[in-house]
Amino acid sequence: MNPSYVNSANTLAIRTPEGIEFSLPLAGPFSRMLALAIDMAAIAAAEQSLEKILAPLQVFGADVSGALQIVGFFAIYITYAILTEWLWRGQTLGKRVMKLRVVDSRGLRLEPAQVVVRNLMRFLDMLPLLYLVGGITCFLNRNRQRLGDIAAGTVVVRSLPVEAPDLDQLLGGKYNSLAEHRHLAARLRQKVGPETAQVALEALLRREQLDPAGRLSVFAALAGHFRELVSYPPEVVEQISDEQYVRDVVEILFKRAEPLRRSAPATPVS
């Protein structure tokens, strides 16, 4: 098994032996730095808790509790990231909060040795202070790897939950006046290329993320482009907004295999 890697901006693409390619969104240095800050706070909190737990051992002498505290602090510092990344499948507390995850750079599951080695390398990455070596390496490396990641063959990726897209709310259930004219709809399918169709679909899927002015201009541009390709009778399109126009075009393009809906009987307007 020797998957190949294709790297584009901020993603690590992995091609499986079956020829399927999938990409992992790489985490940037800034989000990793925030995750690290959270982890540092978690370590400090754990050490404070340990101090309180060991306080009763003072009855055996300050030496005993002092020794346990020194060893305990060191153990927490060394094992915190190793244990959490192992138990939470590549996530520390900070990475969970920042929605990051450590993964094998070949897309496989992490091995214990990888988790240990990448965390032992912190002794070098943190030099000379504030993870400067690791930060600079991460910034310069195309896969956003610090030295620990390079040694262990790991990358840190963004781990945002992705839901299956709900196309029903986008493409179904609404009256489509453009679909009434089958010959024009057929011409539209013939003239609009896949890339343009995809751009229009993406614009509709992301319309809520656009600011009002941007939304108007994006849909105006798309509707204008589609109007240039196929001219519908003025009475069909005069009451339709640019966004509705694009929605109707997209429905025609992406739902061609289904029989076209006849228009619902319009409510008579007296």
Binding site: I20, A67, L68, V162, L167, L253
Partner: protein, 327 residues
């Protein structure tokens, strides 16, 4: 090609959901071993979703659907191509068999580690012989600035009282500090071994200078009684840290190797982990011995006894690293 997206989602969703459910279950039960039927089912689901992902290749790379399918295929790919060793971790077996095996596997790196330290020793001793003023620079430790004879007299008078009530914390400090040194020496292997070699050489310089100072001062018995009990474990542990660093450096450089750097690093990562763990265990022992035995001198405990203890430890360590874990 413009695919009928609504129909594509409608027909694919049951398979995607089934695979998602299987993956959630597998991730929640990482130790579960699948039956042949379960593996076949998972593989079939993976292939179907992979085929659906391939169909979306014509769509723009940022689409939600493509991201969703990529995420599913990525997770399934990791599960199907699982390569991890599922054997239960046994600490005793790991220390008594895996550690010495990893040590022997990379004995050349250890030999280089020893050679660099000895080179440093020779340099430290020569520097002190040529320029006795160099002592404060080479041995920047307060307790070593006085002459060996003064130190011996001081220790004889003190009879280990300076350790009263602080042996435990002193031992803990030694363990953590030395472990940190060993792990830093290891990590510096990522500087193509340069940093590791510098640390090993520098440790040798200090060691050589101390040894020369005490031998030249006529305190060889004190030196052996002081250093041997913990030094025969502590120094090899740092050398093992250096060994691991040199193993990393060798994999990083990859002389004469045709496999990729990532693959070379992956091949040595388990041994690096084992060597680091072994060195840490050795340093725990060395810390205990240094605090509870090495700091006591005649008349509290005879030098002969301490030297004998050190020699026995050295013999056992040599036998352990040379013989333990052999089939």
């Amino acid at each position: 090609m413009i695919i009928d997206l609504a129909r594509f989602v409608e027909t694919g969703r049951p398979q995607w959901s089934a695979l998602e459910k299987t993956l959630d279950w597998l991730e929640a039960n990482p130790t579960r071993v699948l039956t042949i039927e379960e593996i076949e089912r998972l593989h079939m689901q993976y292939q179907r979703v992979s085929a659906d992902l391939a169909k979306t290749a014509g769509l723009a790379g940022e689409s939600e659907l493509r991201q969703y399918l990529e995420r599913l295929v990525g997770r399934a790919y990791a599960e199907i191509n699982e390569t991890r060793d599922r054997r239960k971790f046994r600490p005793w077996r790991w220390f008594t068999a895996e550690f010495p095996r990893a040590f022997r596997q990379h004995r050349r790196a250890f030999q280089l580690s020893v050679a660099l330290t000895l080179l440093g020793c020779a340099f430290g001793a020569a520097a002190l012989k040529i320029d006795s003023e160099a002592k404060s620079v080479i041995m920047p430790f307060e307790g070593l600035q006085i002459s060996p004879a003064e130190r011996v007299a001081k220790e004889r008078d003190d009879q280990g009282k300076h350790m009263a009530g602080r042996k435990g914390s002193f031992s803990a400090q030694l363990m953590t500090h030395n472990t940190q040194v060993a792990l830093t020496t290891l990590a510096l292997g990522m500087t193509y071994g340069f940093g590791t070699m510098v640390v090993l050489f520098y440790n040798g310089v200090t060691l050589g200078a101390v040894a020369y100072d005490y031998i030249h001062g006529g305190q060889i018995v004190f030196l052996l009684g002081w250093l041997l009990p913990h030094g025969v474990i502590e120094i090899p542990a740092i050398l093992v840290g250096g060994q691991a660093g040199l193993v990393i450096a060798y994999a990083l450089i990859g002389w004469g190797s045709r496999v990729s750097r990532a693959q070379r690093m992956r091949e040595v990562s388990r041994d690096v982990m084992t060597l680091a763990g072994g060195a840490a265990v050795m340093l725990v022992w060395a810390g205990l011995v240094e605090a509870f035995l090495s700091q006591y001198h005649e008349p509290v405990i005879s030098y002969g006894m301490k030297i004998t203890f050190g020699l026995v430890e050295a013999t056992l360590l040599t036998l352990f690293l040379a013989r333990a874990g052999r089939a």
